[in-house]
């Protein structure tokens, strides 16, 4: 729908003012006028023309409210609609003033309401601002369209984040606390260890010889030291053993005095005293227990028992139980017999009605058999169903006949026709191009985007002097060469880093060694040879003073003693600190090595830094030759990538242009084909209808033909089915009639068999006879059961009771033959109780006797045990009476104590004699007299001290040699370090693989999701992006939705891919954003449905001139699809309008309410530079 003409007949300040909007290729119309000239009145007039006037209009200031009138001419799909809108009750009128129906405009407006029209199609500056504010509201319809692309991928961000997090655990460009760095450090460490521990042949031989020599020297001194130690031990032993040998001789003498004694076991004295006391107590106890046994035996003999009664105890108990159980049987038997007689009389009474006789025997013989009665009952139940089936079959046959008649009538009314094959073929060819217009628009947008991309990429190179041809012809180094240069530089830098690291490590080691040496010296008291030598001199001076008589022995002895002790202590301490001294020296040697290593690594570091400077200088020269002066080597790859990107963007632009041309050509061919097919098939082809409309018409026609054909086939199939069903219904009716006849025959046969042939006349009498027979059969069964289950068992019980009573009389009381069972039971029960009490008393007496005999036996055993314990001592002493053994035991124990002491002294001697026998010890005492021991030991000690000093020096030599040799004695340290290096390499490889997988997957997922959303974002956002880019003159490149924020948010991207939230845009830019979205939505609507005019009322108030021009360019594209009426007070925009829309109509409104049409050829105005379109 479009507005061809608006007549302001009597409206606001206008009277009979007509605005005409002729159609052209771009349906754009501009109305220019200063403020208060009536632009908003025009916008309001259009709204009220289409949807009616308000009751109290603010525009009734010149004309009376009732006289307000506007007229219009609309162009619709059904032809032109001309009419007048008034404030009368029937506001819609013809030009002649006749009322028109309210539906008169429906063909143009469709479901469009005033609110939607004002919201979507009438945009002034206030609405623009309001719209800008509401963009971010997800409930907004525009936002809903924008955010639809989030569907289906909501949770992939979590996967991407997880991938990124895991990748960061493996490697980050700046961090060191990650898996790869850890493995890399282990690799470096293992490599260093490997370097340190590897051994060359010469080193090994030298170290081995040094160690061997040191060991031999040390062993020589040690041998002499050991010999002197042995001699000193002999003198020391002599001094130690002399008092022990003296004590040993004295003890041996005492033992000899005691002479021979008997050998009693240890503790014999105590055993003997305890045994004598135990034996006396046991004899007394035995006598007491013997008296107890005699008393208990007499009590047992005094008790007597009734054995006969106890022997029949079970019989007496059974008789008592049966008497209690059968007490009521006699009276119950009489009562049950009476009940059976009563039931029999009732049965005979019912049997007489059907001729069964008046006695029980006759009744049983005349009663019909059970199976015959069941057959008769079954036939009676079948009868009703058979009659119902017969009636239903007859009804079914009638229904089938009626249905068949209806189907045949419908078939006659359905026409026979097939689709035109030319239409089908044309439709197939045209369908791929049905949506070609949208694709063409998309491709135009893509061309514009590619152009902008190409320009931006050229700018991004940062080398304005370069043209595209320069880039293509430029002789740049290959990626391999770049990589090699970088690798070389990186290798040198890494070597420099390693050297620096090693230098720092050596410095750190040296520092730690210094600290350790200081701490070691403080914490260990190391006595030097000088200390020892000084102490000895002092000792010798003291001894010399005594020997020379300067001091007497009494005066000089304390000093001599003190100096002796000091010298000894220092020698001991010196010997003990021998190892500590060697360790300290070793640490000092290590410190020297570490300082030397540090110096060496420092020199390496300086060399590497020199190499690095040289490589940097080489690159700078090469970059200048390429015209890339100032570019860093590390940035070269990135610059080359940008160059590739720029060339690729140029290629992409050319490709998009070719695609657009191809699409346009194919769509035109398809439309021509369809149009010809429609004409041949007899359809009218409207001039204005497009390919989509023609395809829709063909599709609708083909669907109608197809539906008719399908219905005919269905009805034919239904007729065949109905015919078959009718035949089946007739057969069913005949079968049901025959079943009823068969039932009558079987009925008559059964009555004869039941002896009722002459007794019953109809079905009801037969039912009564069957009921009576069932009653009689039930009564007879009940009588039989009563006799068998109740009466006969009670009679048997009474007979068994009598037999039990007779048996007990014969055994226990033969003089009471024939006695009543109950009386007999009471007599025998009392007798049995008495016998049981006697038996209990006898058992208790027997138990008491057994206990007394057991205690007597235990007392005798205790006496025997006491005697047995004394027997070994008695045999040993060879006496009969235990009291005679006491003095013998005392003497033997005295001798035993002396022998034990002697044994202790011998043990002491053995422990102190260094493994010598007593004889060897006595010989040693003879060879080393105690009197000379002190002096000799002093001499030996001096010699030992001298040797100890030599050993300290030699031990240090050996330790140093050993420290040099130990790491290179064929050990596997290097092999282990190499293994660790390989393990670290494996871990680095694993980490590298995993990192590359995760980093690639993460980047890939992000890119894929972005691209997915780009594709799914729908044409609205794509088109809005292009319009917004134009409106902002390239300040923003695209619009995207951030689906991962909650709620999803719209973002505008600057060319450098910087995202800006809507809230971060300036007011003007936000207006432009909303305008872009609105124009894109209107274009989309125009593509999908009926176009509706768009009224733009002073939209560009906040736009500068350049952006206003860009806004007009955006409206240029919209005007190709729907009518645009542009109201503005900015007259200087007219030249731009004219350049964009040469055919556009223009109208100038003046403050005096007169207007005049403007035309381009009449008003040539130069376009100011700031309005030039790009």
């Amino acid at each position: 729908m479009r507005l061809c003409e608006l007549g302001l007949l009597a409206y606001g300040r206008f009277t009979d003012h007509h605005l005409r909007f002729p159609q052209s290729s771009h349906d754009f119309h501009v109305i220019v006028g200063p403020n208060e000239a009536g632009k908003s009145t025009v916008r309001r007039a259009i709204t009220e023309l289409l949807f009616g006037m308000e009751l109290r209009s603010p525009l009734g200031f010149k004309h009376a409210q009732a006289d307000l009138r506007v007229s219009g001419v609309l162009e619709t799909a059904a032809g032109p609609r001309d009419f007048v809108r008034t404030k009368q009750q029937k506001s819609l009128r013809s030009m002649a003033g006749d009322p028109l129906p309210d539906s008169y405009l429906d063909v143009g407006l469709g479901a469009l309401t005033r609110e939607v029209f004002e919201q979507m199609h009438c945009l002034d500056h206030a609405r623009l601002l309001h719209g800008g504010q509401s963009i971010v509201d997800p409930r907004n319809s525009v936002s809903q369209i924008l955010f639809q692309a989030a569907s289906g991928l909501d949770d992939f961000a979590a996967v991407r984040d997880a991938l990124g997090e895991r990748a960061a655990n493996i490697f980050t460009s700046r961090g060191r606390n990650n898996r790869y760095s850890g493995a890399s450090e282990r690799f470096t460490s293992a490599q260093k260890v490997l370097k340190d521990v590897q051994v060359r042949t010469r080193e090994w031989v030298d170290a081995r010889d040094a160690l061997k020599s040191a060991q031999e020297n040390l062993e020589t001194v040690r041998r002499e030291h050991r010999a002197l130690e042995l001699e000193r031990s002999a003198w020391e032993r002599s001094r130690r053993l002399a008092p022990i040998v003296t004590r040993l001789d004295r003890l041996q003498s005492d033992i000899d005095v005691l002479g021979d004694t008997r050998d009693f076991p240890a503790g014999a004295r105590k055993t003997l005293a305890t045994g004598i006391a135990d034996m006396e107590k046991a004899i007394s106890l035995v006598k007491t227990r013997e008296r107890d046994v005699s008393d208990r035996q007499e009590q047992l003999d005094a008790v007597e028992v009734d054995a006969d009664a106890l022997a029949h105890a079970s019989g007496i108990d059974r008789l008592s139980r049966l008497c209690a159980l059968y007490e009521s049987h006699a009276a119950d038997i009489v009562l049950r017999r009476s009940e059976a007689s009563h039931w029999l009389a009732a049965a005979i009474e019912r049997g007489v009605e059907f001729g069964c006789g008046d006695a029980e025997d006759m009744l049983r013989s005349r009663l019909p058999q059970e199976r015959i009665l069941r057959a008769i009952d079954s036939l009676l139940k079948e009868r009703g169903a058979l009659l119902a089936d017969k009636r239903a079959a007859e009804d079914g046959e009638r229904d089938r006949i009626a249905a068949l008649d209806e189907l045949r009538k419908e078939l006659e009314e359905l026409p026979e026709r097939d689709a035109d094959p030319r239409l089908v073929e044309a439709l197939e060819q045209a369908l791929p191009y049905k949506a070609s217009e949208a694709r063409q628009d998309g491709l135009r947008g893509a061309v514009a985007t590619a152009l902008a991309e190409a320009q931006r990429n050229m700018v991004a190179l940062g080398r304005p002097a370069f043209t595209e041809d320069d880039l293509r012809t430029m002789q740049v180094p290959s990626p391999e060469r770049v990589s090699a240069m970088r690798s070389e530089r990186q290798g040198i830098a890494q070597a420099r880093d390693v050297a620096r690291q090693l230098m720092e490590q050596h410095a750190e080691s040296a520092s730690q060694l210094e600290l350790r040496i200081n701490q070691f010296a403080r914490s260990h008291k190391i006595v030097t040879s000088t200390d020892v030598h000084g102490a000895r001199q002092e000792r010798d001076e003291a001894w010399g003073a005594i020997k020379s008589g300067v001091h007497t022995l009494a005066v000089g002895a304390p000093r001599l003693d003190a100096t002796l002790r000091l010298a000894d202590q220092l020698v001991d301490a010196h010997t003990l600190s021998e190892a500590d001294g060697a360790s300290l020296q070793s640490m000092r040697d290590q410190l020297e090595v570490a300082l030397s290593d540090e110096g060496r690594e420092r020199r390496v570091l300086e060399e590497r830094e020199g190499e690095l400077s040289r490589v940097n200088a080489q690159w700078e020269a090469q970059a200048s030759a390429l015209g890339l002066a100032g570019l860093l080597l590390d940035d070269l790859s990135q610059w080359l990538a940008k160059r590739d990107k720029a060339l690729l963007a140029a290629d992409t632009l050319e490709q998009k242009r070719q695609e657009l041309a191809h699409e346009c050509e194919c769509a035109a061919k398809a439309q021509q084909t369809v149009s010809e097919a429609l004409t041949k098939a007899g359809f009218e082809t409207p001039v204005a209808s497009g390919l989509a409309a023609m395809c829709a018409a063909i599709e609708e026609h083909l669907q109608k033909v197809d539906r008719t054909r399908t219905r005919r086939e269905t009805v034919v199939q239904q007729i065949r089915a109905a015919d078959t069903a009718l035949k089946t219904a007739a057969m069913m009716r005949e079968a049901k009639g025959k079943a009823v006849d068969d039932w009558g025959s079987r009925w008559n046969e059964l009555l004869v068999k039941a002896h009722l042939g002459n007794q019953v006349d109809d079905v009801s009498e037969a039912e009564a006879a069957i009921e009576a027979a069932a009653f009689i059969r039930q009564s007879l069964g009940r009588i039989d059961a009563h006799r068998a289950e109740r009466i006969q068992p009670m009679e048997a019980d009474l007979q068994a009771l009598q037999q039990v009573a007779e048996g007990l009389v014969d055994a226990l009381v033969p003089d009471q033959q024939g006695a009543n069972p109950e009386a007999l039971s009471r007599t025998l029960g009392a007798r049995l109780e008495q016998a049981k009490r006697q038996s209990l008393r006898k058992d208790q007496a027997q138990e008491s006797l057994d206990g007394a005999e057991r205690q007597l036996s235990e007392a005798r055993t205790a006496l025997d045990q006491a005697k047995a314990r004394l027997q070994p001592l008695m045999r040993c002493a060879e006496v009969e009476d235990p009291l005679d053994a006491v003095p013998l035991v005392d003497r033997a124990e005295k001798k035993s104590e002396l022998l034990a002491e002697l044994k202790g002294v011998r043990a002491e001697l053995e422990a102190s004699a260094d493994g010598m026998t007593l004889e060897q010890a006595r010989a040693g005492l003879a060879d080393h007299p105690v009197a000379h021991a002190e002096e000799r030991m002093l001499t030996i000690r001096d010699r030992l001290e001298h040797l100890a000093q030599s050993m300290v020096v030699l031990a240090q030599d050996e330790l140093k040699a050993k420290q040099g040799f130990d790491p290179i004695d064929g050990g596997a340290k290097a092999a282990v370090a190499e293994s660790q290096k390989q393990e670290a390499l494996s871990e680095m490889a694993e980490a590298a693989e995993e990192y590359l997988h995760l980093a690639t997957a993460g980047t890939l997922l992000q890119w894929a999701v972005d691209r997915y959303r780009d594709r799914k974002q729908g044409p609205l956002l794509q088109r809005a992006s292009a319009i917004f880019q134009g409106l902002t003159r390239g300040s923003f490149e695209k619009l995207r939705v951030d689906y991962e924020s909650t709620p999803p948010a719209l973002l505008a991207y600057r060319p450098e891919n910087q995202a800006v939230k809507v809230s971060g845009l300036s007011d003007g830019t936000r207006d432009q954003l909303f305008l872009a979205l609105r124009i894109a939505a209107l274009e989309l609507q125009a593509d999908q449905g009926t176009p509706v005019p768009f009224i733009a009322d002073d939209l560009f108030i906040n736009f500068d001139d350049a952006r206003s021009a860009a806004g007009l360019q955006a409206l240029h594209a919209l005007a190709a699809k729907t009518q645009v009426i542009f109201l503005t007070h900015q007259e200087h925009l007219l030249p731009v309008v004219r350049s964009l829309f040469p055919e556009a109509s223009s109208e100038i409104l003046t403050a005096d309410a007169s207007g005049s049409a403007l035309h381009g050829e009449d008003h040539e105005v130069a376009i100011p530079a700031e309005l030039q379109l790009t």
């Binding site: 289906g152 895991r166 590897q198 494996s986 590298a992 690639t1000 890939l1004």
Partner: protein, 420 residues
């Protein structure tokens, strides 16, 4: 007079095990000196079996290995043999021809080395044995050395000792090539060969044997490794018995994940497989675990390979931490379903699939990817080369191929139950 000797080759002393990374609980400390331990076993076995002599047919060391300790270790082991009165005949192959140890090490008297200038015959008169051989003079010897070996010594048991690739084993450099028929034609009784790391034997006029290497060093050298014990009876008949002396055995354990409901089920199945593996004998194992089969867990396994490896390691520790060392967990499963259905996520995945496979051809994306991984490539050491296919692709700039390798796993992860 009958006798027995041991024939070994390709010892590669102190050559490290490759491809194993030391995780916590791995028996790393115990197995780092595997080649030494295996060699000790060889010497111990020779002493216990009281063999007459030992033949080492090349590659005792690795050529670029310079630590003198290795030579000292070898000397110490030879000294053990000397103490037991056992001689050793040593021939250098391509790996130890130029080794520092070969040139400078002073060997004990019981060790005899074949010269490299020309073939030489050593005789053991009391056993009536003649050993023919020639060491490699340098690393690459492409001449047929066997052709110049001398004629058999009559009245002796003749042993040819040779380091050769035989008739072109593709897995090994084609050094000192010769043919089986040619060796038979020499008329020797036994050919003690080296160079090929798998056991091989040919019978005929001569008994020709590759004993294989003494100790497997990486996952391509799986199965039992060791030497051979050769018994010669009084009539000169030869009986060859394999000796399995390796202290760590390489295995590939293939586990089918088909039918497993959870990743735990898969790891339990791996645990069962590992139990069976070490149940066979007491030798520790270095195992590559390969998960295969069509399973709905494909995505879960591929999506978090590190977690899958951790589960397998846990199983290895639970089964026997002292005897199992997991080399790698390779996930070679395939998905159980295809992406279809009306579900919103499935539709998205179907679209995403086509986009993922476009990425490998998209220049913009590949540049973005390069920017992402370049810092890592700058950092990663040049020594990392073995068994890192993705790294190789990245280094060669084949990022499109890198994407093609990664994309299926990513898609599987996104399609996994419970994902994304």
């Amino acid at each position: 007079m009958g006798f027995r000797f041991i024939h070994a080759a390709d010892i590669h002393l102190d050559s490290p095990l490759r491809g194993l990374s030391a995780y916590e609980s791995a028996p790393a400390d115990r197995l780092r000196s595997a080649s030494r331990e295996a060699f000790k076993e060889l010497v111990t076995r020779a002493i216990e079996d009281d063999v007459s002599f030992l033949v080492l047919a090349g590659d005792l060391y690795d050529g670029d290995w310079r630590d003198y300790n290795t030579g000292l270790f070898f000397v110490a082991q030879m000294a053990r043999l000397a103490k037991a009165g056992i001689r050793a005949f040593l021939l250098h192959g391509n790996h130890d021809a130029e080794s520092e140890m070969t040139k400078k090490l002073v060997l004990p008297d019981n060790v005899t080395v074949f010269p490299s200038r020309s073939p030489h015959v050593f005789r053991i008169d009391d056993l009536q044995v003649a050993l023919h051989g020639q060491s490699f003079a340098h690393r690459v010897v492409e001449d047929n050395l066997a052709a110049a070996y001398g004629a058999r010594v009559n009245g002796h048991y003749n042993i040819g000792v040779l380091h050769t690739a035989m008739e072109g084993y593709v897995a090994h450099p084609n050094y000192a090539p010769c043919k089986v028929a040619e060796l038979h034609a020499k008329g020797y009784d036994y050919w003690a060969l080296g160079h090929v790391h798998e056991f091989q034997r040919w019978d005929g006029a001569s008994t020709i044997v590759f004993p294989g290497n003494l100790q497997g060093r990486h996952v391509r050298e799986t199965g039992r490794k060791g030497a051979v014990s050769v018994t010669v009876d009084d009539d000169g008949h030869t009986v060859v018995d394999r000796l399995f002396l390796d202290v760590l055995r390489w295995e590939v354990l293939t586990v089918d994940a088909d039918g497993c409901a959870t990743v735990d089920d898969v790891s339990r199945r791996v645990g069962q497989g590992l139990s069976r593996l070490i149940g066979a004998d007491d030798t520790p194992r270095a195992v590559r675990v390969v998960l295969q089969g069509k399973t709905r867990l494909h995505g879960a396994l591929m999506g978090n390979a590190a977690a899958t490896r951790a589960q397998v390691l846990a199983q290895a520790v639970a089964v026997d931490a002292d005897r199992l060392w997991i080399e790698k967990v390779k996930i070679a499963t395939s998905p159980e379903f295809t992406i279809d259905g009306a579900d919103e996520t499935r539709e998205a995945l179907a679209d995403l699939q086509s986009i993922l496979f476009e990425a490998g051809e998209d220049a913009d994306f590949l540049r973005e990817l390069l920017g992402e991984i370049q810092p890592f490539l700058n950092k990663v050491s040049g020594d990392v080369r073995d068994d890192a296919p993705l790294l190789a692709l990245a280094r060669e700039g084949r990022l499109g191929d890198l994407v093609k390798q990664v994309a299926p796993a990513l898609l599987a992860q996104l399609s996994a139950p419970g994902a994304p």
